[in-house]
Amino acid sequence: MIRKALAPIAALAAVTSLFFSQGAHAESGWHLLNMRQGVTAISREIYSLHMLIFWVCVVIGIVVFSVMIWSIVTFRKSKGAVPDTTMVHNTKVEIIWTAIPVAILVAMAVPAAKTLVQIEDTRNTELTIKVTGFQWGWQYDYLENGVRFFSRLERKADAARQLGSGVDPNTIPNYLLDVDNPLVVPAGTKVRLLITAADVIHAWWVPDFGMKKDAIPGFVNEMWFNVDEDKTGIYRGQCTELCGRDHAFMPIVVDVRSKEDFQTWLKATAEAQKQAAAPQPAATAHAG
C-alpha cells in the first residue's frame, strides 16, 4: 500500500538520481545513492518505509527551510526591517506545531511496527543454517544436513589488500566482496539463520536481504529471509560490527539457487564432505 502511494514520488526520485549521477563514471547510479530495494518481501517493505520517512523529512525540510530562507532574505536590517519585539509567544501556533509532528510520527509508527512484527515472525522456516562469525571469517553449518564449511575473503583480494601490496584493487573483480566458499541457499524458501560468534561480536548483513543481525558469543540470534523465486544469483555483504584488525576483510557472499539446484548442490557437498571426513589410508585429504 505504501509502495503504491509512493510510485509518483519514486519516479521523481529516479529522475533526481539521473541528475545526480551525471558526470560520475559509469558505475554510479541510483544504487550508489540510495538504499537498494533488495530481493525479499521484507527488504522491499523496509525500502518503502525508508522512502516514506525520507519524503516526510523532505517535505518538512522544504517547509522549515523555506521559512528560514524567507526570513533571512526578507527580515534584514540592511533592508530596513523593523523587529516586532512583541512577538514572543503564541499558544495556538505552538500547539499546532507540536500536534502536527505527533500526527506524522503516529502515521510513521504504525507501518514501521507492522513491518517489525513481520520481521520477527520466525514461524514455518524451511531450512536452518547456523552462522558463526569468527576473527575473521564465517562458518556455515547446515544443521539438518551435516554440511559445514568456512567462508573467507577470496585470496587475490586478500593479497591485494595488504599494506603497500602494489596491486590496484580495481583490477580485482568484486574486491573485498568475494569469498572462497559462498553460502548457498534456495530461492523461494524461508531460510532461518541461527547467528552466533566464536570470539568477539560480528554482524551478518546482506543489504539485498534487508536484514542485519549481530553475531554475539554466547548468544544465538535468529533471523530469516526468503529470496524471491525468480531472484537467483549472487548477493554480497560484509561484517558490520567492528571485530578487530581485519573487520573490513570478512565479506559475506550468498549464492541463491533454484530449489532443485540447491538440492543437487547440498547432496553433492554432503557427499564430498563425508568422503573427506572418512579415514583414508594413504594421503590425508583436506578440501580447501
Binding site: G61, T85, T98, G218
Partner: protein
C-alpha cells in the same frame, strides 16, 4: 551604565590585588575566567589532535587498497578520534564556556567552588596525555571503537588499563565541573534573577550538568567492570563465565545516549543566545524552549537501545525504543520552530556568530532528519553500522555542536578580550567551514545507503567516488580550522577595542559588565534595573 562606573574605576586594582602572576596564575587558577580560558585552549588543542586523527582516517579512505596505515592503527585512529573529540574537545569546550559565561550571566562574582574548578580542569591534560600515550605502548592504542564493546575491547593490549584510567579521570573531571555548575546556578544568582529569567545558555547548562551527574558514574561502572573482567577474573560480560556481552551495551548506551545530549544541549543554549541578539528580537517561546530542553533530557534516558536494534531484542523492546526515540523529534521540532519564529519579523544582520548559528539551524536540522530515519527500527536494520550513521552523528556534532562552539567564541570573544576580531577573516572561516563540512559529510549518506559499513579501513571499489569527495571535504575542513586560532591570536594581539556591549542587539547581564572585564566579575550583584534590562529574553 552609571552604576558600573565604580567597577570600572577598580580596574587598576588588578595590579596590586591578590591576583597571581606568571605560571602561578594558571596552575593555581581559581578565577572562572582564567579557568574558562584554559578549558577553551585545551579544547582547541584536543580539537586539532582529534582532527589530525580524522585526517589519517580520511587519507587512508581516499581510495581503495591499504596505502598508509595498518588496519589496527586505523581502528585506533577511529577509536581515539571519537574519544578525543567527545571528551577532549567538545565537552571541555562547553565547560570552558560555562566557566566564562555562567557567572557573568547570572550576576555572580565567580563560580561557587573555585578550587574544585581548578582541580576539575587540571585533571584533563593528564587524562588526555595518558590516552595519547597509549599509541606508544606495546599493542598500540585502543582499537575496539570508542564504545569499548566487549569482548573486542578485552583484546586491547597494554593500552587497556590506560584507556580506562583516562576515561575515569575525564569522568571525574566532568562530574566535578557539573557539581560546580549546579551549585553556582542554584546559589549564586543575583537577587531577583529567578530560574525562569535565566538566559537559555544557563538553562541548557543546568540541565546538561544534571545529565552528566546522572550518567558519568554509569560509564565509570561499565568500564570498571571491563577492567575487572580483564584483570581480576570476573565475567560480567564474558559469556563463557555466565556473563552477558549485550548487558555492557545496555549499560554503555544508558550513559551514551544522554551523553550525546550533553554534547548538544549547550549548543541549543548558545544558538538561543545568538539568534535573538542578531535578529534584534527576543527569543520566541522562552518557556517552551526550557521545557523542550528538559523533555529532551528526560527522553534521553529511555531511548538508549535504539543504538542496538540489531542485537536481537524482543519485539516489544524494539517497538518501545522505536516509539520513545521518535518522541524526541517533538521537543526538538519545537526548538527548531521557535528559532525560526524568532527570525520571523525580525531585523537581522549577519556577523560571524550569526552565520554559525544559522548554519547550525540548517545543518543540525538535516542531522535531525537522518536521526528520525534511524529511529524507524526496520529501516535501522539497513542503516545500522553503515556510513549513514556516521553521516548522521557528524551532522549533529560538527555543524551542530562544533559550529555552535565556534559561534559562541565569536559571539563572546569581544567581551572576553574587550577587543574585536577580524570579521572578514572570520567570515572566510565560516564559509570555508560551512562548504567543506557538507562536502565532507553529505556523501557519507550515500555511502551508507549504498552499503558501506563504518569503521573499515578499506572498501569495495564502487564506493571510491564518494569517499574521494568526502576526503577532499575533510582536508578542506581541517585546513580551514587553522584560521580559527589565528583569528583569535590576531584579536588578542591587535584587535580594535570593542565596546562593553559588543553587538547592537545583545542582551544579557554579561553585556552590562564593563570592558575590559573586572577581575572578579560581579563584586556587587546587578541592580534590579540592570537585571530587568539584561534578562529580557
Amino acid at each position: 551604565m552609571a552604576q558600573h562606573a565604580p567597577a570600572a574605576a577598580h580596574a587598576h586594582d588588578d595590579h596590586h590585588d591578590h591576583k597571581p602572576h606568571g605560571w602561578r596564575r594558571w596552575v593555581f587558577a581559581t578565577n572562572h575566567k582564567d579557568i574558562g580560558t584554559m578549558y577553551l585552549v585545551f579544547a582547541g588543542i584536543m580539537f586539532f589532535v582529534g582532527g589530525l586523527m580524522a585526517m589519517v582516517i580520511r587519507l587512508e579512505l581516499f581510495k581503495p587498497g591499504m596505502q598508509f596505515v595498518d588496519p589496527l592503527l586505523f581502528n585506533s585512529m577511529t577509536t581515539m578520534h571519537a574519544l578525543f573529540m567527545i571528551f577532549g574537545a567538545v565537552m571541555p569546550a562547553w565547560t570552558g564556556l560555562a566557566n566564562w559565561q555562567i557567572p557573568m550571566q547570572i550576576g555572580a562574582p565567580d563560580m561557587a567552588l573555585p578550587r574544585l574548578n581548578n582541580f576539575s580542569f587540571w585533571i584533563l591534560p593528564f587524562a588526555s596525555a595518558i590516552l595519547l600515550l597509549t599509541l606508544l605502548v606495546p599493542g598500540g592504542g585502543p582499537a575496539g571503537g570508542w564504545t569499548l564493546y566487549p569482548p573486542l575491547a578485552l583484546q586491547t593490549a597494554d593500552a587497556f588499563p590506560m584507556t580506562i584510567f583516562a576515561i575515569h579521570l575525564m569522568g571525574v573531571s566532568s562530574i566535578l565541573g557539573s557539581i560546580n555548575v549546579i551549585v553556582t546556578i542554584m546559589n549564586m544568582r543575583a537577587p531577583g534573577l529567578s530560574l525562569l529569567r535565566m538566559p537559555l545558555f544557563v538553562w541548557s547548562w543546568l540541565i546538561t550538568a544534571y545529565l552528566l551527574i546522572a550518567v558519568m558514574p554509569v560509564l565509570a561502572g561499565a568500564v570498571t567492570m571491563l577492567l575487572t573482567d580483564h584483570y581480576f577474573g570476573t565475567t560480567f560480560f564474558t559469556a563463557a563465565g555466565g556473563g552477558d556481552p549485550v548487558m555492557y551495551q545496555h549499560i554503555f548506551w544508558f550513559f551514551g545516549h544522554p551523553e550525546v545530549y550533553i554534547l548538544i544541549l549547550p549548543a541549543f543554549g548558545v544558538v538561543s543566545e545568538i539568534i535573538p541578539a542578531f535578529a534584534r528580537k527576543p527569543i520566541f517561546g522562552y518557556e517552551a524552549m526550557v521545557y523542550a530542553i528538559a523533555s529532551i533530557a528526560f527522553l534521553s534516558f529511555i531511548v538508549w537501545a535504539h543504538h542496538m536494534f540489531t542485537v536481537g531484542m524482543p519485539l516489544a523492546g524494539q517497538i518501545f525504543f522505536m516509539l520513545s526515540t521518535m518522541l524526541i523529534a517533538i521537543p526538538t521540532g519545537v526548538k527548531v520552530f521557535n528559532w525560526s519564529a524568532t527570525m520571523w519579523k525580525s531585523s537581522m544582520t549577519f556577523e560571524p556568530p550569526m552565520l554559525f548559528a544559522l548554519a547550525f539551524l540548517f545543518l543540525f536540522t538535516i542531522g535531525g532528519f537522518s536521526g528520525l530515519m534511524l529511529a524507524i527500527a526496520p529501516a535501522d536494520f539497513q542503516y545500522h553500522d553503515t556510513y549513514f550513521v556516521v553521516a548522521h552523528f557528524h551532522y549533529v556534532l560538527v555543524p551542530g555542536a562544533v559550529f555552535s562552539i565556534l559561534g559562541a567564541v565569536y559571539y563572546w570573544l569581544p567581551k572576553w578580550t574587550s577587543k574585536m576580531y577580524d570579521h572578514k577573516l572570520a567570515k572566510v572561516h565560516f564559509w570555508l567551514s560551512a562548504i567543506f563540512v557538507n562536502v565532507l559529510f553529505f556523501p557519507q549518506h550515500f555511502l551508507g545507503l549504498a552499503g558501506m559499513p563504518r569503521r573499515i579501513p578499506d572498501y569495495a571499489t564502487q564506493f571510491t567516488d564518494w569517499n574521494m569527495v568526502s576526503s577532499i571535504g575533510a582536508f578542506g575542513f581541517g585546513l580551514s580550522q587553522l584560521l580559527f586560532p589565528y583569528i583569535i591570536w590576531k584579536c588578542v594581539r591587535s584587535g580594535a577595542p570593542a565596546p562593553a556591549r559588543a553587538w547592537e542587539g545583545a542582551h544579557g547581564l554579561e553585556w552590562e559588565l564593563p570592558s575590559p572585564l573586572p577581575y572578579h566579575t560581579w563584586e556587587t550583584p546587578p541592580s534590579a534595573a540592570v537585571i530587568a534590562r539584561g534578562a529580557e529574553h
